[in-house]
Amino acid sequence: MAVQFSQETYRQFEEVLTHYPTKRAALLPTFWLAQEEFGYLSPEVMEYIAQLLDLSPAYVAAVASFYTMFDKEPKGKFHLQVCTNLSCTLVGAQQIVECLEQKLGIKLGETTPDGKFSLSEVECLGSCGTAPVLQLNTGDYYENLTPERVTQLVEELAKQA
C-alpha cells in the first residue's frame, strides 16, 4: 500500500467512524483527515479511502470532485481563495482576481512554479457584509479587499515564505 494514515490519524479515523451509522457517512470527515495528513486528495489517497470505507473509487471521486474545499492536486504554501459569488462580484471580486493573477503570474486554479502561491475561485465564504473577501488556506479571512490590499498581502506573504 503506497499511502496509509499514520497511527495517530488512523486512530482519529476510527473515532470518526463511531459518529455515524454507516461507513459511507464518514466520507467527508475522512477527506479532512486525509487532506490534513497528505496535503491533498491524490488518486492514491482516494483509492485508499475507498478501501477504508468499502466504497467504490468512482463514488469517492464523485464526492471529492464536488467539493471545492478538497484539493485534488498539490497546493502552494499559501492558498488564496477568492470568493467570486454574487456579493463579492458586485463590489469588485473580478478586479481582485485580475490583480492577483497579474501579481502572481498565474491564472485561477494554478500554482506558482516555486510552489508558494495557489490561486482559486471559491463559492460564498459567508461574509458578504465585508465583500470582497478571500480566505488564506483554511484559516484567516481578508476582508473589504482592494487591489492595493491584496498586493500588499502577497508581498508580506512572499517575505514569510
Partner: protein, 971 residues
C-alpha cells in the same frame, strides 16, 4: 415468490385502474397504455427522478410530481397531459438540448436518442423524416448547433457546458461522448444496481459535471469489465456500442431471439442481423439473465464471421504422412519451448498439408476408414469426442452414432474435464447430477457459500445476481485459495492452502456436529450412513484443520456457525472443487454439509455446481458420457440397454466406454485406432498435452469437425467444416437445467454444414441410415427416451425455454428439486479423508500451479481469440505471481519468465497479482503460445476420472532476454 401487496385503485386521465401497493404512477399509466415521457427512467432500474420530464399533476399536490418515483395512493387523481405539463416538459427538454450535440451519434445512427425524439415531439427540433440519408443531410453538423435552439422561429442562447474533450474512445467496445450526456444516472445505476460493478460515478459540479470512470480515468484504463450494460441503458449517444462488424442502424436489421453460445449461465440474447452479418447482440428479458450480459455475450459474436472459418472439407495430402504436427511451435521437441506471436493456429503452416475435397469424397473417406478400423480391430478401437458447445440434438446423435454405428461406448466430452467428479459424487449420494436449485435462488438464501468458483469471470452474469443478493442481505461466504473478485462483495472470505478442501470442509462438519447445529430430523428421515461420516470428521477439530489448511481455528468455527445456523443456505461450486484428483471427495464433503443441515428441497437452499460450457448440462443429459445413455440411464443395466436397442434397432455394447483421458491413453498405447472429434480441441484443453500430441499422432485415422483449424486439426486425416452456433438451430441446457432454443440467425459460410447433418451423413454411409428433417425431430426422439425430459417440446420451450423436469406439460418446470425425496431414495453420506495432492512442490519445483480462465476468453480461445474486442482486451498469456514472490525471484511485472513442470516448459509474461497466494502461480489455459496444459498433470480422480488441473508443481525462472528470445525467434 412474490410478496402480496394490497390493491390500490386510482384514476389516471379519468380512467380508473387497480394496481398493487407500491406501484409507481408511471407503471400504472403504462398498464393503461398511457405514455408518460421519461429520460432518466428505465423499468429495470431503481427510479431516481432526476430528469423530471415524467412530471404529472396529482390532484391536491402543490407541484407537479415525478411519475417514475411517486407511488400510487388510493383515490389518487392523476393527469398526465395538460398544457401546463407540456410547458414544463418542453422547457426541461429545451434546457437539456441546449448543450446536446444535434444530432448525437445515437440519433444520427438509429434515430432513437430519447432526448432528441422528445425535442422533435415538442417542436424544438425539426422532425426528421424516416429516411436516414435525408436526416443526415438536413441536420447541422454536430457541435455547430450547440447552444442554439430552434424556437418559435427564433433562436435562444444558453451558455454551453464547458467540456474540454468530451470524447473518450479508450474502451475497445464502448464510445463515450460526454457532450451527449444528460446526466440521467442510468449508466451509473446500470453499473451499480444491475451489474454491481460500481465503476461509474459523477465527477465535478455544476456545468462541469460529467460521468467518470473510477477516479475519473479514461474508460479503457478503468476497472470497467466491458459488460456494456451502461451503453445498453444510455438514452442518448453518450455511451454507444462501437460497431464490431458493419455499422448500420438497428432499424435496418432483423432480430433473431437466441441464447448466448459461451458459458453455462445461458443468457437470452437477440442477434441483430443484416446481410447475413451479425451487427449487434442485445440482452433479452428472461428468467435467466433479465436482460443482462457480459463482455463475451455482448461483444464476442464476430468470431462466426471471421475470414479463417473452414468452408470446404479438407483431406490430408499423401506427402504429409506419417502424421505429425504441422505448426513450427508444435514440432519442437518435448519440453522445449517456443514463443510465437498471434496465438491461434498459423494457417499458412497447416493448410498446405491439406487439399480441398467435395463433401461426397470426404464423407466417403471418413465412413470407409472408420468402418475399416472397426472391421480390423473391433469396435473398441474407435472412439468419439463430442462437445458441450454443440446442441442437445447433436450430442444425442453423436453418441447414437458412436454407440449404434461404431458399436462402442467410447464416447465422452469435456464434461470429463469439468464437473465429472461433481456428477460422480452427486449420483452416488443423491442419485442426480443436476443442480437442485436454480442459481437465482440465491435471493432467497440467508447464507450462500461460493467455493472454488471465480464467478465474476467464469459465470459473469450469475455473479451479478450473487453480488446483488449479498447487497440485499444474503450472507455471502467466498472460499478459494486464489482470491476471486467476488470476495470483494463477500461477508467472509476464506483462503486455504491449495488442495486442502477436504480438510477444511471436514472441519466445518466437525464443528456443526460438535455444536449441535445439525438437522437431526432431516438426517433421520432422509439420509443414511451418517454414523460413518461422524466417525470420519471426528478427528478434524478446528485446531487440526488449522494445521492442515492454514485457516485459523476460530475462522473454521465462525464459518461453520454461520452456515450451520442459517435457515436457508445454498452452496455453489466450480472447477476449484472438481478439477482435483480429490474432486469427487471435495464434492462429497459439500453434499454432506448440505445434507447434515437439511439445506435442500426448499427455495434458497441446495447444491449448485456451476456448469461451465453453454451446453455441458445438455450434452451430459443427452448421453455424451461413456457409462450412460440419455438421462443418465446406465449402459450396463440390461433393461435400459434393451430399451435403447429397441429404439435404435441394433445390438449395443454392454460395457461402459472409456473416458476422455483414458481414450487419449488408449491412442497412445495403440488400442484406440480411429477417432471422430466433433468440436473438441484436446490439444489445448487436456492435461499434459505433450502426451496428447503423441497420442493424436499415433492414431490411424482422425476426423476433426470444427469451425476453425484447431490445434487438434493439425493431426487430422480429414477436416470437416461445421456451422457455428448462430448458423444453426438447436436446444441448449443451461446450468439451471433450463432447456432453451438457439435459433439460426445467419447462413454458414461456404459449404459448412450443421454438425447434426454431418453426423447423419457419416452414419448413413457406415450402413446405418439416419435421416432427420430438423433438429426438432431429433429433440422429440431424445425426449422420448429420457424420462426427465418428458413434457418438453419446441412449442413448450418457446422464447425463454423450460426447466427439466417438467412433469406437467401445462405448468412450468421445477426450479427446486428433492423437496420430499431423492432419486435414489435416501441421501447417502459418503465420508472422505484428507489426502494431499499427487504432486507436491519440492526444492526443484517449488510453486503450485493453478490454471483457469479469464473473463474475456473461452477455453482454447478458438472463438474468443477471433473476436476482435475480446482479443483486444486480453491479447496475451500471462502468469500471475504474488508480488512478494516476484521480488524474491528478482522479477518485475511484465518480465518474461519460463515456467516449467516435470512435463513441459512455457515462456510468458509475468503479472504481479496479490489475488494469487504466495507460493502459488496462476496461468489461464486459453493461450496456445504458452499452453498451461503443457505443464499440468494427467493424474485422475479415481471416481470422476477428472484430471488434476488445479494443482501441480512448477518452477519459475527469469528469461535472459538476449539468448532466450533469440532462440525463440530462430525456432
Amino acid at each position: 415468490m412474490s410478496t402480496m401487496h394490497a390493491p390500490v385503485t386510482l384514476t389516471i386521465d379519468g380512467r380508473p385502474i387497480t394496481v398493487s401497493e407500491g406501484t409507481t404512477i408511471w407503471e400504472a399509466a403504462r398498464q393503461l397504455g398511457i405514455d408518460i415521457p421519461v429520460l432518466c427512467h428505465d423499468p429495470r432500474l431503481p427510479p431516481v427522478a432526476v430528469c423530471r420530464v415524467c412530471a404529472v399533476e396529482v390532484k391536491g399536490a402543490r407541484v407537479a410530481q415525478a411519475a417514475c418515483i411517486r407511488r400510487v395512493e388510493a383515490g389518487m387523481e392523476v393527469r398526465t397531459h395538460t398544457d401546463q405539463l407540456t410547458r414544463v416538459r418542453r422547457m426541461l427538454v429545451e434546457l437539456l438540448l441546449a448543450d446536446h450535440p444535434i444530432p448525437c451519434a445515437k440519433h444520427e445512427k438509429n434515430r432513437d436518442c430519447a432526448l432528441e425524439l422528445l425535442g422533435e415531439q415538442y417542436g424544438l427540433l425539426p422532425v426528421s423524416s424516416g429516411e436516414r440519408e435525408r436526416t443526415r443531410a438536413a441536420a447541422p453538423a454536430p457541435h455547430q448547433s450547440r447552444g442554439r435552439l430552434h424556437d418559435r422561429g427564433g433562436t435562444i442562447r444558453v451558455r454551453p457546458r464547458v467540456l474540454e474533450d468530451g470524447h473518450d474512445l479508450s474502451s475497445p467496445v464502448i464510445a463515450v461522448d460526454h457532450h451527449a450526456c444528460i446526466l440521467c444516472d442510468r449508466c451509473i445505476r446500470g453499473c451499480d444496481e444491475i451489474q454491481n460493478n460500481e465503476v461509474i460515478g459523477r465527477t465535478g459540479k455544476g456545468a462541469q459535471t460529467r460521468i467518470g470512470f473510477d477516479l475519473n480515468l479514461p474508460m479503457g484504463q478503468s476497472t470497467c469489465v466491458s459488460c456494456g450494460e451502461c451503453a445498453a441503458v444510455c438514452p442518448t449517444g453518450a455511451l454507444m456500442h462501437k460497431p464490431l462488424t458493419i455499422d448500420v442502424p438497428l432499424s435496418e436489421t432483423k432480430a433473431v431471439d437466441s441464447v448466448c453460445p459461451y458459458c453455462g449461465v445461458g443468457c437470452a440474447i437477440t442477434y441483430h442481423v443484416k446481410d447475413n452479418t451479425i451487427v449487434q447482440v442485445s440482452g433479452r428479458e428472461s428468467p435467466v439473465n433479465h436482460g443482462r450480459l457480459c463482455v463475451k455475450g455482448r461483444y464476442g459474436f464476430d468470431y462466426a464471421l471471421h475470414p479463417q472459418r473452414l468452408t470446404v472439407p479438407l483431406i490430408r495430402r499423401a506427402e504429409f504422412y506419417p502424421k505429425g504436427p504441422l505448426s513450427k511451435d508444435v514440432r519442437g521437441e518435448d519440453g522445449r519451448w517456443q514463443r510465437k506471436p498471434g496465438g491461434i493456429v498459423d494457417y499458412a503452416e497447416v493448410l498446405p498439408a491439406f487439399r480441398e475435397a467435395s463433401w461426397e469424397e470426404a464423407l466417403d473417406l471418413v465412413a470407409s476408414r472408420l468402418k475399416q478400423i472397426k472391421d480390423r480391430y473391433g469396435p473398441g478401437a474407435l472412439a468419439g469426442f463430442g462437445s458441450a458447445k454443440c446442441s442437445n440434438e447433436e450430442a444425442y446423435l453423436f453418441q447414437k452414432l458412436v454407440r449404434a454405428v461404431f458399436g462402442t461406448n467410447n464416447v465422452d466430452h469435456c464434461t470429463r474435464l469439468c464437473h465429472a467428479s461433481s456428477v460422480a459424487a452427486l449420483q452416488e449420494t443423491i442419485g442426480s447430477g443436476a443442480v437442485s436449485n436454480v442459481f437465482a435462488d440465491i435471493q432467497y438464501a440467508d447464507v450462500a457459500i461460493v467455493i472454488g468458483s471465480n464467478t465474476t469471470e467464469n459465470h459473469p452474469v450469475a455473479a451479478t445476481f450473487f453480488k446483488q443478493a449479498a447487497k440485499r442481505g444474503t450472507t455471502l461466504i467466498v472460499i478459494d485459495p486464489r482470491r476471486p473478485a467476488l470476495a470483494d462483495h463477500a461477508h467472509y472470505y476464506i483462503s486455504y492452502k491449495p488442495g486442502t478442501d477436504v480438510a477444511f470442509l471436514n472441519g466445518l462438519m466437525h464443528v456443526i456436529i460438535a455444536e449441535g447445529l445439525i438437522d437431526a430430523d432431516f438426517i433421520a428421515r432422509r439420509t443414511e450412513n451418517f454414523a460413518a461420516l461422524q466417525e470420519t470428521v471426528k478427528h478434524y477439530t478446528p485446531e487440526v484443520v488449522e494445521k492442515l489448511t492454514g485457516v485459523p481455528a476460530e475462522q473454521v468455527r465462525t464459518i461453520a456457525r454461520v452456515y450451520g445456523r442459517a435457515k436457508n443456505a445454498m452452496i455453489f461450486w466450480g472447477m476449484g472443487i472438481s478439477q482435483h484428483t480429490t474432486g469427487t471427495d471435495n464434492a462429497r464433503c459439500l453434499i454432506s454439509l448440505c445434507l447434515m443441515t437439511g439445506n435442500i428441497g426448499r427455495p434458497g437452499t441446495g447444491l449448485h455446481p456451476l456448469r461451465g460450457q453453454n451446453n455441458v448440462q445438455g450434452a451430459s443429459d443427452s448421453g455424451l458420457i461413456p457409462m450412460v445413455y440419455t438421462d443418465y440411464q446406465r449402459v450396463d443395466t440390461p433393461q435400459v440397454r434393451e430399451k435403447f436397442e429397441k429404439a435404435w434397432g441394433v445390438a449395443l455394447d454392454p460395457k461402459p466406454g472409456l473416458t476422455v483421458v483414458e481414450i487419449t491413453h488408449g491412442a497412445l498405447h495403440g488400442t484406440i485406432k480411429g477417432m471422430y472429434m466433433m468440436g473438441e480441441n484436446p490439444f489445448l484443453s487436456d492435461p499434459n498435452i505433450n502426451k496428447v500430441r503423441k497420442a493424436l499422432a499415433n492414431l490411424e485415422f482422425l476426423v476433426v469437425q470444427d469451425i476453425f483449424l484447431t490445434e487438434t486439426a493439425e493431426f487430422a486425416d480429414v477436416i470437416l467444416p461445421a456451422a457455428s452456433f448462430p448458423e444453426k438451430e438447436g436446444t441448449y441446457t443451461n446450468t439451471d437445467r433450463r432447456v432453451q432454443i438457439g435459433r439460426k440467425a445467419i447462413d454458414p459460410p461456404g459449404q459448412a454444414r450443421p454438425d447434426w447433418q454431418i453426423i447423419c451423413e457419416i452414419a448413413t454411409r457406415m450402413g446405418y441410415p439416419m435421416h432427420y428433417h430438423s433438429p426438432e425431430e431429433i429433440f422429440r426422439e431424445l425426449v422420448s427416451l429420457s424420462p426427465n425430459l418428458a413434457g418438453l417440446s419446441y412449442a413448450k420451450l418457446g422464447t425463454s425455454g423450460e426447466l427439466w423436469p417438467c412433469p406437467d406439460p401445462h405448468a412450468p418446470g421445477q426450479s427446486v428439486l428433492f423437496t420430499d425425496s431423492f432419486p435414489k431414495g435416501k441421501g447417502k453420506f459418503v465420508p472422505a479423508e484428507f489426502m494431499p495432492a499427487k504432486e507436491l512442490p519440492d526444492a526443484e519445483f517449488p510453486f503450485v500451479l493453478n490454471t483457469g480462465r479469464v473473463l474475456e476468453h473461452w477455453h482454447t480461445g478458438t472463438m474468443t481469440r477471433r473476436a476482435k474486442a475480446l482479443d483486444a482486451i486480453e491479447p496475451e498469456p500471462f502468469v500471475e505471481i504474488h508480488p512478494e514472490d516476484l521480488s524474491t525471484l528478482g522479477l518485475q511485472d511484465g518480465d518474461w519468465v519460463r515456467v516449467s513442470s516435470r512435463r513441459g516448459t512455457i515462456v510468458l509474461k509475468v503479472r504481479s497479482g496479490n489475488r494469487t497466494q504466495k507460493g502459488s502461480v496462476f496461468i489461464p489455459f486459453h493461450f496456445r503460445e504458452a499452453a498451461a496444459n503443457l505443464l499440468t498433470l494427467d493424474e485422475l480422480d479415481p471416481y470422476g476420472k477428472i484430471p488434476e488441473f488445479k494443482f501441480c508443481a512448477v518452477k519459475v525462472e527469469k528469461v535472459r532476454e538476449q539468448e532466450d528470445l533469440a532462440a525463440a525467434s530462430a525456432a
